[in-house]
Symmetry: C2
Subunit: 399 residues, 2 copies
């Protein structure tokens, strides 16, 4: 009988930590790992409070440790779980969990709260598959500097940025003979309210906004898609990830979300990156890179379909313009706007304010904040807390 080389086999298995395993991206990532038996071993899973889903994941993937950020949920989980698993809890627990070694981390915690664990984790992993936008938007230079210092690679999971990564990293490589793209385009679905008139926008319900035409995602990002704040964030991500000037980054409306990004050479040849609106495809890329894994479902050429494009009427999306104006200021304004957007959406989702009050609140904060340079990650946290508080105060006046 031929002996199975267990040791060698284990050595090539990559150890993975998933931050945000019970969210939409986390679940998709676990499905990708399920589809690649023998390639990955789940070392750690981290959730905010959904211990029911986490318990199922623990049962299936047997991690060595888990982290539950919400203290009460952590206590409940501990009392029921296998004693062999190490359980971290609370914000402090999250930071300790972030210092665990892994080959790949998937950072899929939502919002700016991903930044602190990310900054720690960058020193303890070889690759971060980054699904969190806010960290790159609010603290891009700190994140990339830390990654460079730790020699940790960051692979974008966000579909548009992932698509650009696939186009730019390969075509700007030595084999492409030093040819650079002269312009890149991110596509935008336009979100759930794209065809709404200004009048109709004033009566929008939570349900309306959450009915995204192509993607199933978390609630905040779905609202950000409707306001195009999300697309503004992606333009900034593109700028930070690929060192591209803002004037070389375009946005084009593409309702079907199948072409995720396009890159144009000076000879007007465009390369486009196309795949179904299924986050498991960019996650698969980020986990297996530089190899290509096999994924079962792609674009079906046995059916008729269309890809439509239309120019972005940016006046219809004042928040996108605001975000891009903030980006060019190179100060704390993106931190302010991100915190404000997060808080305002929280109030909208709780039905305490109207949809159009999100605009009003953002405008208020953007015209009433002290512009300061960001000198450290601590500054990011400071202005995030400041803006959350100021936003809350303003929102109370609207409720």
């Amino acid at each position: 009988m031929r002996e199975f080389p267990i040791k060698g086999y284990e050595r090539i298995m990559k150890e993975i930590a998933i931050f945000g395993s019970t969210g939409s991206i986390g679940k998709s990532a676990l499905d990708c790992i399920r589809k690649a038996p023998g390639k990955f071993r789940i070392k750690g899973l981290c959730a905010y409070s959904d211990i029911r889903t986490l318990a199922q994941q623990v049962k299936e993937f047997s991690p060595t440790c888990v982290c539950i950020v919400d203290g009460l949920s952590a206590e409940k989980f501990k009392s029921n779980c296998n004693k062999k698993i190490k359980v971290f809890s609370g914000r402090q627990g999250l930071l300790e969990f972030s210092a665990h070694k892994s080959d790949i981390s998937l950072m899929a915690i939502a919002g700016i709260s991903a930044l602190e664990p990310l900054m720690i984790n960058l020193k303890h992993t070889k690759r971060v598959a980054l699904a969190n936008k806010e960290s790159v938007v609010c603290a891009g230079s700190f994140v990339f500097d830390a990654a460079k210092a730790a020699k940790t690679e960051i692979l974008p999971v966000d579909s548009e940025i992932n698509a650009l990564y696939q186009l730019l990293k390969i075509h700007d490589a030595p084999s492409s003979n030093g040819n650079r793209f002269e312009k890149v385009y991110l596509t935008a679905s336009g979100g759930a309210l794209f065809d709404y008139s200004k009048r109709k926008l004033s009566k929008v319900t939570v349900r309306d906004v959450l009915a995204h035409p192509t993607w199933r995602m978390g609630e905040r990002i779905t609202v950000d898609c409707a306001t195009l704040v999300n697309k503004g964030f992606e333009v900034i991500e593109t700028h930070n990830f690929f060192n591209l000037a803002y004037e070389d980054i375009g946005v084009v409306i593409h309702r079907e979300s199948k072409i995720h990004a396009l890159a144009q050479f000076s000879d007007k040849t465009i390369l486009a990156c196309v795949y179904p609106a299924d986050m498991r495809i960019p996650i698969t890329f980020a986990l297996h890179y530089p190899r290509r894994a096999t994924y079962p479902c792609g674009i079906d050429f046995n059916k008729a379909f269309s890809f439509t494009f239309q120019p972005l009427a940016s006046k219809k999306f004042p928040l996108l313009e605001m975000i891009l104006a903030a980006a060019k200021k190179d100060d704390n304004s993106l931190v302010i706007l991100n915190a404000c957007d997060e808080k305002a959406i929280e109030y909208f989702l709780k039905k305490k304010i109207r949809f159009i009050d999100i605009y009003k609140t953002m405008e208020h904060l953007f015209t009433h904040y002290p512009s300061k340079k960001l000198n450290s990650v601590a500054d990011v946290f400071y202005w995030n807390t400041w803006a959350s508080q100021k936003t809350k105060e303003y929102l109370q006046t609207l409720c």
Copy 2:
């Protein structure tokens, strides 16, 4: 006064010979060269009989030699032209012209008559920008073997094959980590008669067939687009150029001719190559490769537009199926069908037969030819002449 380094400057200018300079591709190529002053020098121009256009081109580009294949036209040209230009004439003159040294040759002679000059020219140039399909379809292995032996690179100009070249040559390069595409798709506009019913097809006029929806091209290729023979040829070109198995090459209907080819990795990421239906873009690529030149007009993202796709109903296009069946036979059948198609279209364009008689003629030849292996280029010429003669005989019975 600063001296202009004439010698060094001249040395980096590439010397170009254009075969078929008065045709659609030839004129486009000269326009590309006009747009890149100082980069190229026209060494030779070759035309069949359009000496009026040729005379203008000679005046503008001052080649050292020209070739006019039609003997009478050549005599007329000689009597009027500058005596310093060497003029080759007739079929023999074409072969001598083909043996002139150049840095780049654009082979844009139509039909199988390009094969003989191509086989000679491959030994005397460093790069062939190949716009002729028939040579690769009928004699692919001889052409590529000769290119390999002469260390001459062949760059495809045909938009679909050019698009695949851009996708495959770069992404299958070492920097793409050995990942190969699992499937490629060529797009097909469907030609001028795509929406015609079977009944309507029987009444098609020459004018109907030549009304191609997206491209302005030579007459034979426009008819070949309507029958999809052209797409069959491109599938064979793809097979020969990139060593891809026939089952990994798909065809999808895309009426707008903006996406020219798509290539899919195993993880279902697709890269697509996109540019307007303007042959100057792939010609620019083939002339400047590995550098990217600047071309002024690309896809306009300031306007709304759609890319539509639909599966190919191959039963509607029996000639495509016939061409692909012939390709898999690996004998002289493609030579037979190409000669037959050429001759039948000639008769159709002269209004001697109906459009549907092209189908009838092809079917007759495909079921009445002696299947033989091709052992040399001489065999290709033999069977080409044989099939032309047999086709003519059959066509007489239809006139």
